[in-house]
Each structure stands twice: as C-alpha cells, then as structure tokens.
Assembly symmetry: C2
Homo-oligomer: 483 residues x 2
C-alpha cells in the first residue's frame, strides 16, 4: 500500500507561538518542518507538543488524523521546500522579520503563502522590500495556539482575494477560525482591546485600588464568562433588552462617559511598579509552576469549549465544523465503527480512570451513529420518528485512561418491528475489548411519545444489516444479568 503524502507546514521560529503552530498542524496530520537556530528549539517545541497532545484531541468526539512527521532544520531551503504553508514567528523586530522573510522567499515554493504571527506590524510593513509581497499576510494567533481558534488574518492592498481565501481555507482545515481584518492598523483588533484593559489594569495596581488577583477575579467571576461566548456588543444587545442597541447606547452612553474621561495616559513601568506586579502575581499563584498553570488553563479551556459545542456558540461552532470534516473510520471485523475518539481529561474521576457514565456517553453516540447508518438520521428525526433507549447493560472489562484512543464497533443483534437490539464493543489501542454495552431501543413517534413502527427505508436498511450480521458469533456478554 502506497504511503499517503501529507501536506507540509514550515514553522520559522520555535518558542511558545511557533510550537503552538507546529502542534496545530502536526495533530491535524500535516508534516511539520521547524527552522530555528536556537539549540533549545527542539526541547521547547516538544514541551508545547506534550501539552497539545493532551488537550487538542480532547476537544473532539472523533479522532483527529494520524500525527504528521516533525523535523528540525538549520537550513532554510530544506525547511521550506515543498511547503503548503509557511508560518513566521520570530521576535517582534521589523528588520529581523524583513531578513527572515527574504530568506524564506528565496527558497519557498512560488505559490506558497507566508503567514506572520506578528502582533503589532501591518502586512504592508512586513512586505517592504519583498520579491513577492502579495504572498505575505499577517496570521496572528492567540496563546495557546493549539487550543484557541482565533487567527487574525490581515491582508494589504497587495493581497488578492483568491489568495486570501485560499489561506483562510488552510487555516480552517486545521480547526482555526480566521477573522479577516478589513483595514491594516497597528496591533490589529484583539490586541487593541487587550491593551486597553492592560493599561487600565496597570493603573489600578499603580493606584493601589486593586491587586493583580483582585483584577483577575473581577474578570473571571463576572464579564469574562460573558465574553467567552458572546463578546462585548452582543452582551450589551441583551442588556439593552427589547428596546435594542440604539436605546442601550442612548441610555448608557452618557453614564459611561464619566469614568472615560480619566486615566487616559499610561502609567510608567518603573522598577517599583514592575516589582509590585510581580510580587502580587507570586502571591496569587506562586504556589503553582508554570507547567501546572498551563495544564489547569488547558483543562479549563477544553471543558468550556466542549460545553460550547452543545450550542455551537463561538469556539464550539468552530470545533463542530472541524469535527464534521474529519475522515470516517474503517470497519473492524466486518462491523461498522460507530465511534473513534480520544478520552478527555475531564472524563476521568477520583479513581484515575474514565468515569462509568462516559462509557454510556460513548455508547449513546455509537447508537446515534448506527441510527444514521440505517437512515434514522437528523432529517428522519426532524420528521418525527426516533429511537429511545429502554434498557442497557454495561460490562466494564479494562480501565480506560485520559488520552487513550478508543474505537467502537456495533453489532446488530435484532432490528425488527419496533425493536432495535445493539451490542457495542469499546476497543482500546491494544485491540482489547475494554467494555461491552448491550442496549435495547424502541422506535417512537416523537409527537405522541409512544412506540411505533419505523419508516420503510429504516426497516429495509435494518433487514439488510441483519442479514450481514446474521452469521457473526454471538457476544459472550449477550443477555448477561448481574449476580
């Protein structure tokens, strides 16, 4: 069997940002070539990768593609050859960026886009002196790059629309959310907002109104929770109520203006103010290492983003779209594979393994997938028919841990009339059956909430599937009772 040829991303400049980019591409099946003269680059990137492997797949209820190949280079020509995407993440010095971009373009494939991670420079500044200015854009990510979907994409007048759209397609294909910025300005959009808050926060510390911890608390116990899902204007739209945004601005504009008139200058970052901030930050979380904080942050992000998947809001919608584009798993032992996923950290309990409820979550998703396969899909359900689970028997055979990769096969035991009798096996990476879930479902009319016969297509598909599964051996655990 010929090996599939992966796409290739060149990551120019390692560190936390470059490492995040590398992880994002690698865990989405791309080969990644890193160029960084720093002898510590490989260690640093592998540290970021360890975090990413733990959390990015945990966002999804389906497996990501197999990881690509990671290589390190001190030769720019080798790093960028055959690349479909080049990402520059070197320090924020314009002269340095010009030098590196020139080196990249001397060796890169002629049609390859170069995204710059710059948080401050405009694309037209980066393009100065370039042999192909139209291939350089800003693609500004947010830390941790392997989890947060936002990428500010900033074109210049030199960028054509087709190139821009192709670049956005690449970013979307690795689960990112490109936000195209209409006009070039210093610091794009998000950092403008961040710096406004940063400046205000520094004043509050400077004036001894609040400590760093109190400022963080003022954010995370309050409006931070609103912003994670809706942002600023949408929140105010709701605050305005039925009367609408014009009313809101009319009502609150004048009141908001009073404090606006203050603190417009910037506090000087004296050694004293810097030391005060550092000390307060130590008081707040000096008991945790940066690694501990990163993991806490990532677990929280995964948990919140998984919660947003339910409504499809913000980052949840990005994950759903990306998940729908992931490849279908292949059958195992003539059985359809109705689940294929990595186990998130948040699914484990005090015993240090996957909690029993999530076995049934996996089997519930497998039943849904099986229903789709026989035509009882979202459209069918919208038309008023569905299956309800009435009885389930779980045998827990092997422990499953966070990060484990699980596939689910589904054997049709019986699919006649109103009854749908399924047998799910959860198979671990060693090929062992880690759990079995036998389940009986009944077809229902969603209006009356009473049992009913399934539609013709579903009945026919079930009969065909039953024929294919008729000669399979009966599972050992079938019809088990406890005790």
């Amino acid at each position: 069997m010929a090996e599939a040829i992966n796409k290739k991303a060149a990551i120019i400049g390692g560190g936390v940002i470059g490492g995040g980019w590398a992880a994002r591409f690698l865990l989405n099946g791309w080969d990644v070539a890193v160029f960084d003269p720093d002898p510590q680059a490989e260690r640093k990137i592998n540290e970021v990768l360890a975090n990413a492997r733990r959390s990015l797949p945990a966002l999804y209820d389906r497996s990501l593609p197999e990881e690509g190949k990671l290589t390190f280079h001190d030769d720019m020509a080798k790093a960028v050859s055959d690349a479909q995407w080049i990402q520059e993440s070197v320090p924020e010095q314009l002269a340095l960026k010009h030098k590196i971009l020139a080196q990249i373009q001397a060796h890169a494939p002629s049609d390859c886009l170069i995204g710059s991670s710059t948080s401050g420079f405009k694309p037209s500044e980066l393009q100065q002196g370039s042999i192909k200015p139209e291939k350089i854009i800003v693609a500004h990510p947010f830390n941790p790059v392997y989890l947060l979907p936002l990428i500010e994409v900033v074109p210049s007048a030199a960028t054509d629309a087709a190139t821009l759209e192709a670049g956005c397609d690449v970013l979307r294909s690795v689960g990112l959310k490109p936000l195209v910025v209409r006009k070039e300005i210093d610091a794009h959009i998000a950092d403008r907002l961040l710096e406004a808050v940063w400046r205000e926060g520094l004043w509050l510390v400077h004036d001894e109104v609040a400590t760093t911890e109190e400022i963080d608390d003022a954010i995370r116990y309050g409006f931070g929770l609103r912003w994670a899902q809706m942002g600023l204007f949408e929140t105010y739209r709701i605050a305005g109520g039925e009367a609408g945004m014009e009313h809101f601005i009319g009502q609150f504009g004048p009141a908001l203006k009073w404090p606006w008139t203050k603190l417009m200058d910037v506090p000087e970052l004296t050694p004293e103010l810097t030391a005060r901030i550092a000390q307060q930050s130590d008081d707040q979380s000096g008991h945790m290492s940066i690694r501990d904080l990163e993991r806490l942050r990532d677990d929280n992000l995964v948990g919140m983003m998984r919660a947003l998947k339910k409504s499809g809001s913000g980052a949840g919608g990005t994950i759903n779209d990306h998940e729908a584009s992931l490849p279908e798993p292949m059958p195992i032992n003539d059985l359809p594979v109705t689940g294929d996923r990595q186990i998130p950290q948040s699914w484990t309990d005090y015993n240090g393994h996957m909690n029993e409820a999530h076995y049934v979550e996996v089997s519930s998703q497998a039943s849904d997938r099986f229903m789709e396969l026989v035509g009882a899909d979202a459209n069918y359900i919208a038309s008023g028919g569905s299956y309800f689970t009435v009885e389930t028997h779980v045998c827990y055979l092997h422990e499953i841990s966070a990060g484990d990769h699980i596939r689910v096969t589904t054997q049709l035991i019986k699919g006649e009339g109103k009854k749908l009798h399924l047998f799910h096996r959860l198979i671990n990476d060693e090929g062992a059956v880690a759990a079995t879930i036998e389940t009986m479902l009944l077809h229902v009319d969603l209006k009356t909430r009473r049992t009913s016969e399934p539609g013709g297509v579903v009945a026919t598909n079930l009969a065909e599937m039953a024929k294919r599964h008729a000669d399979l051996p009966k599972p050992d655990q079938l019809g088990r009772a406890i005790g």
Copy 2:
C-alpha cells in the same frame, strides 16, 4: 410540624438587575419582598425568574433549598420590615438614590445592611445625608445576576470591618463571590476595564476597522476564553513562562506602548455612529429575539461554569463551595437518599429528554455518596482503597426532562467481602420510579489496581447497613437481562 421561618430580602427597584437579585435570593430559599411603583414590575420580575429557574439550579449537582415566597409592595415600610438584606437597584441618579435610601432607612430594621447595585457611584456619595451611613455599602452585581457570581462590595470610611464581613457572609450564602474593593473609585474595578474595551471597540466601529460582530469574534474565539477562567494577569504570567512576570513586563512593556499612545480620546456618540452600531448588531443577531439570546447565553454560562466545577477554577470554585453548604436530603422509604438534583438543559439530547448517559452519571454520583455513607470517603480513597464499577444494568422507565427534580434512593443488595451490589432508583417529582440502575462494584487497592478486601470500618458499616436493608422487598428489576 412548625413551618420554618425563611430569611427575608427586600428588593427595591425591579427591572433586570432587581429581578436578578430577587431570583438569586428566592431560589436560595429566602422570602423576597419587591418594592417598585412600576405596574410592569411583577411581569418583568417573573420573566427574569423564569430564566433563573431554568438555569441557576442547573449549575449544581444537588438541589437548592425550596423556593421562598415572593411578594410585591407599593408600601416601603411593608417591603423592608423584618428584612435581613435590602438591595437598592433604582436608576443611576444620585438624587433619586438619596431619596430612596432615606425612605428605606426610615423603615428598615436598624441593623440591616443596604446594598446598592450602583455601577458608578462611590459608597461615600450614596451615604451623603443618611441617618445611618455605616449601613449603606455598594454591592454591584453583573448581569445575569442569578448566574454570575461576582459582586463588587465597596465600603467607605464609615463602614466597620464586622459589618462588611457580615454582609459578605450573606452574599456568599446565596452563592455569590464578594470582591471587596480596597479604595472607593468611580465605576469600581470591573466597569473600569469594561469601559476601556468599550471605548476601544467604539473607535474600531467608528473608524470602520471592524463591525460589532468582528469585534465580538475577536473576543470570544480568543482571549475571552482565557479570561473566563484566569483573567488578565494570570494569563500573562503563563505567557511570561518560567522567567516570570518581571521578565514579561520587561519584554512586552515597550512593544505594547506603541498602540497605547493612540486613540486616547473618546469617539462622539453621534446619531450616525449609534445607528451604525445598531445596524451591525441587527446584522449579527437580529434573527434571534432577546429571549432567545438570553437563553443561549444562560445555557452557555451554565455549560462553561459546570465545566469549571471540575477544576474548581473561578466560578467553578464558588459553585463547589456553595454546593457543599446545601442541606442534606431526608431518607425515603427507609432508604438513604444519595442524590437530589434538578436536570440541566445541557443533559438533554435531540429526543428532547435527558440523555441515557446522564442516568449513569446520576447513579455514579449516588454510588459515591453511598460509599461516603459507609466510610469509603475522600480520605479513605486517598489512603489507597476504593471501589470500581464492573457491571451496570439500567432500566429506563419514564422520560426525564430539563428542569425536572430527581431524587435517588440506594438499596444495598449485598455488601460482603470485595463485592458491593447496589440498586439505585431515580424518583421523579410525581414519586414515580423513572429509572433503576443495578450496579456491581468491587473493592480495589488503588496502587496495584487489583481487587482487595475493604478496610475494617467500611466492612462493619456495610454489615450494619445490610442488616437494615435485609427485610426490604427485592426490586422487580433485580438481576434482569436484556431480551
């Protein structure tokens, strides 16, 4: 049986904020008296309450106390009599607030604290002309008040420490997170940060750099997700890495200064700019009603805050603390009640009822609670012994919907040697058994991950519990097999 006397909160001024306060107290078992001359006050508050009933209990894995009694008054003396907390939420006009605060203090119990929801005024301003200035503080909430835990509590020089601490205790008892602000300043802390972003956002719309939707996307797909859990400084602490905050400020301070020097004045809110913002907001979400938006917001908040419960970060920690303080349920039919909760919206699926996996989540929590009752609690587990579930049989008997109240009883079938055989019943509000979960657990040594005998205390407690349960009738569903 004598009726328990509830605590009483007086809510002065209805509307969205007053309604949120009313809901927060009411759903935590307080009686609430609302004073508002607006004839629409009752309707408005009931609308907020409907949202709150749907979402506040969904944050918890245990039932909140029984709802208190809600009354409406146009007589201030009746509204505030016997109150333990009075909350003023009238419009942001200092003269009006002075008038209302004087009316309140003329009739209020002499030791009763009055919290003002003001977002702009300092407590010393509110206290001007008061007969008891020391009883007036700022208690500034965030919308939706029934969900977001943050309350900025601002004392003045007139406030003594004991009064302040007693006030914070009241707020904590209804699940809030009081943040005491050290110095009186206009707009306290959070609104200073919000207004900085609001000003910057208005400029971006004014300059046609971004639409309201693009600004919201720049927040919610990126740093909003960081802020919901950690805030600003903690996020930068991580960005600074092992080198620490001083390094971070040294490195990024100068770069951040460039855009700081711009846009320091305030855009004029002309009718044109106001109309542009309103139109962009309509384009963004005009297809949804404010009610739809509120429900989406609340479902997202509940989902994210439930995710934060896992780590105890930010709002998750506040919920965990509050949950631990909730009263224990009473036994039913001589069986211990090992679960007592409302069903969150996020637990339902496309069939419009609780998904099958959450029945096992409820039974898993019931098994945990039962283990605590026989001494296999957190300390016991930390010492190296625990129980693993090896087999579970679920009978789904009645549909369970979002908002339903469920209690769980646990019958000990057998608790000898390594085996723990339990039978859980999920009982709905009509007293019907909505599901049964039979489950077999084995005692394990957490180090070897192999079965082992339980500790002496656990064995003894199980033997005693077995005696008490010996004469109970065997459940119908015991030992069932599927098919």
